[in-house]
């Protein structure tokens, strides 16, 4: 199961992801991201991974791309937090746990 929700709060756009980030859901997330990214100009975009239960290696690569494109990742839980740290390390971004 996978669900992506977009929330607008002032100049902050939050993309909340729930469930498993793997397989066909990745294309869906990428499309969702493209729409947000194209329509938000200078807004800050946060990708909230608190409710993510699994991230495949392709999912990790996608998150890295989002991070490089300006998204900030936030996470909760041991696995996703370690993942966010690892991605932040690799793209040289400040960590937002």
């Amino acid at each position: 199961m996978f669900r992506a929700t977009v929330e607008h709060n002032g100049d902050l756009v939050t993309l909340r992801i729930e469930g498993r980030l793997s397989g066909p859901c990745l294309a869906e997330l990428e499309q969702c991201w493209s729409q947000i990214h194209a329509g938000n100009g200078t807004h800050r975009i946060v990708v909230d991974l608190k409710e993510v239960t699994f991230v495949s290696s392709q999912g990790k690569q996608l998150l890295e791309r989002l991070c490089r494109a300006g998204a900030r990742l936030t996470a909760d839980g041991l696995m996703t937090r370690a993942l966010v740290e690892q991605i932040a390390d690799s793209v040289g971004q400040e960590k937002h746990i």
Binding site: G23, F54, G77, L78, A82, Q86, D89
Partner: protein
């Protein structure tokens, strides 16, 4: 206009015979009795003297004499159309079969109202002759004259011949009329049978009765004129009928499809209760007080017929046909409609059964999807956690073999995730939409294994009370995962080999060969090659299974995945039991990485689950003491430290000596950069060693 011939003078014998021939010709010429008798009257008048001639026929139904035709020349005769047998000369002649000559009516005995009427109109003599055929008497031919003694013996003889011809003619006409009546009856029956056939054809052409009801009404209209036809279905509680289909082009909308009406007080309800057709002509709301009746009457319906739709198994509803005209539906129409209703009832029952089957099929498909989703979410088959080189190699093998239909043999220790890999092969194959069937050969008693795998027929053995489809058949077009394939008994192996090679087998107790297209993925933690050498596993089956072997490394060979797995399981169990754990102490993680994990991932998973349960605070509290080697394992511990040193060195070399960064040794080992530095220092590893 016919020319009225003058009464004949005494005719010669030749003239009479010629006239007789003309009579014969006329008999052959005319098929209509009235026209024939009219023609005969004119022809006879040329030969025989008479001023009036009548043909009376016996009516068997009323047992009286009925005037079939009368011709009088000069004036109209006030004679009745029917006469009692005993009160008329014609009746007596018909009765006796003997001719009657009355030369002078004034001296004749009283012979009923007809002769009296003749006498009063100036007739003086008459002659009456029986009209007969070989096997029966038909009536009488009567001639009357205004002259006395008009009929002599020669006339009588001639007229008897004429009467014989008339008898033949009357018989011919009667036979013809009967034949025509039979023909009409047969044509009517043919039309009705054709109608039933057409209705049947319409019924079998479509399972949706509502769609085809207008066509049924159209067929019926050719035989039974009607303005309204409807089909009402009895609702589950049997107190209401729902108008399922309606054909009423002239309707104003007072009666419409989907309307519900009470069974009680309706004509349809009575037809259902009595289980026979009901004709209401005229339709009277006082007799049927339900609202539907007054609505129909308001719509202009004057007569209507309700037919119960009943099959052997169920009472379904009513078919009704109605007209805006009174007496438009006859009793014989009702019989035909009853036959149509029987066909509609069967079709309706079939349609309802098909609808139920379709609903159940959809429900099963939905349940299957739901259960598949449940299996996926419960066991996380998509979630193969790890980034180690060995695991990546396995996943590459899976991606390579999955799209083919090749048999795969998964080898690996217990708890390494063989089923996960088997499901990954299925999910990446073209069979992913079909069923993945799992069978653990070790979990099923040997005696039942054959039945489970190949299925059995009813009565194949004691206890086989129903037919059973085997797992091989269940996985048709899909994948069969044979876990612990090394536990398949030797005697069953040839049958499995045949099923794999020939794609065919027989169920237990059956001689019919089943053909299946099933991909087999087998798994074992046993050394099949060794078993072949020992003679406990067939060599041919081993080669058949070992088409594409995939070896899953034990956890101790991919220690760099342990931190990922620990975090993954910890987060999963935290969510399950609603705990919040923030950190895992580095000593704990080191201990977990260092442990040999003989039970592999399954053991690790259970260990983490227990640790989460035992951790009330934000720190994961793993019972590390359990991971310390016992006294007998000290030598192993020394070797383990050596192994850890060697492993770190190998990863450092693979990373080109780089410790940090996304491709550095720390990430590859699942450690923080500082932890790796600490470990290197502890194990005496320097960059020079790399």
């Amino acid at each position: 206009m016919s020319h009225v011939p003058q009464p004949a003078e005494d005719a010669s014998a030749e003239q009479r015979y010629r006239a007789l021939l003309e009579v014969t010709d006329a008999v052959a010429l005319h098929h209509d009795l009235d026209q024939l008798l009219h023609d005969l009257a004119y022809r006879l008048r040329k030969i025989v003297r008479f001023d009036s001639v009548s043909f009376a026929l016996h009516d068997p139904a009323a047992n009286l004499m009925r005037i079939a035709h009368i011709e009088s020349f000069g004036q109209d005769l006030p004679v009745p159309k029917t006469m009692a047998i005993n009160d008329s000369a014609s009746g007596r002649v018909w009765q006796t079969g003997e001719p009657l000559v009355l030369p002078d009516l004034s001296t004749a005995p009283p012979l009923g109202p007809v002769l009296k009427a003749l006498q009063s109109c100036g007739f003086h003599s008459c002659c009456v002759l029986p009209i007969t055929v070989v096997d029966r008497r038909l009536g009488a031919l009567a001639l009357a004259s205004r002259e006395k003694n008009a009929y002599g013996s020669a006339d009588l003889e001639f007229l008897q011949r004429v009467a014989e011809q008339v008898g033949l003619a009357v018989d011919n006409v009667a036979q013809r009329q009967q034949a025509l009546a039979y023909q009409e009856q047969i044509a009517s029956e043919r039309d009705r049978l054709r109608l039933l056939l057409e209705v049947n054809n319409v019924l079998v052409s479509n399972r949706d009765i509502r769609d085809l009801f207008p066509a049924i009404s159209g067929c019926l209209r050719r035989v039974v004129a009607h303005d309204y036809a409807s089909l009402a279905l009895l609702q589950p509680d049997a107190s209401l009928l729902r108008l399922h289909a309606l054909v009423f082009p002239e309707g104003k909308g007072l009666v419409h499809e989907e309307m519900l009406f009470a069974v009680e007080g309706s004509a349809g309800g009575r037809a259902l209760a009595q289980c026979r057709p009901l004709l209401a002509d005229p339709l009277d709301p006082a007799e049927f007080p339900a609202e539907i009746t007054s609505r129909m009457v308001s719509e202009g319906v004057r007569c209507a017929c309700w037919l119960p739709l009943v099959t052997r198994n169920a009472v379904l509803g009513t078919l009704s046909v109605a007209s805006l005209t009174e007496h438009a539906i006859r009793q014989d129409d009702v019989e035909l409609l009853a036959q149509v209703a029987s066909q509609v009832a069967i079709a309706l029952e079939n349609a309802l059964a098909f609808r139920e089957i379709a609903q159940l099929k959809d429900k099963l498909a939905q349940e299957k999807l739901y259960l598949q989703e449940e299996i996926h979410s419960q066991y996380n088959f998509e979630e193969i956690v790890g980034e180690s080189r060995l695991l990546r190699t396995v996943l590459q093998q899976v991606e390579t073999v999955a799209p083919t239909s090749a048999t795969v043999l998964i080898l690996g220790e217990t708890g390494t995730g063989k089923e996960l890999i088997a499901r990954a092969i299925h999910d990446l194959s073209t069979r992913r939409e079909q069923t993945f069937v799992k069978m653990s050969c070790a979990a099923i008693p040997t005696g039942l294994l054959e039945s489970e795998l190949f299925g059995h027929e009813r009565g194949a053995f004691t206890g086989a009370i129903v037919q059973k489809v085997g797992r091989l058949e269940l996985a048709h077009k899909g994948t069969l995962f044979l876990d612990e394939v090394g536990d398949i008994p030797l005697e069953l192996q040839p049958k499995l080999l045949r099923a794999l090679q020939e794609k065919e087998f027989e169920r237990l107790g059956s001689t019919r060969t089943q053909r299946v297209d099933t991909r087999v993925v087998a798994a074992t933690n046993r050394d099949l090659a060794q078993m072949v050498e020992e003679g406990t596993f067939r060599r041919d089956l081993y080669y058949r299974l070992n088409v594409f072997p995939v070896r899953i490394p034990p956890l101790r060979e991919r220690r760099e995945d342990i931190p990922l797995l620990v975090r993954y399981f910890a987060q999963k169990f935290c969510r399950t039991i609603n705990r919040r754990i923030e950190t895992i102490p580095s000593e704990t993680m080191e201990a977990l990485v260092a442990w040999s994990w003989p039970g592999n991932i399954r053991e690790l998973e259970h260990m983490v689950e227990r640790a989460v349960i035992l951790s009330p605070g934000p720190v994961l509290n793993v019972p590390i003491a359990e991971l310390r080697p016992t006294n007998g394992d000290v030598h192993n511990l020394e070797r383990l430290e050596d192994a850890e040193r060697e492993h770190i060195l190998r990863v450092l070399r693979e990373a080109g000596g780089v410790i940090g960064g996304s491709d550095g040794a720390a990430v590859r080992l699942g450690l923080k950069r500082t932890t790796l530095h600490f470990k290197m220092k502890k194990l005496g590893i320097s960059r020079v060693d790399v």
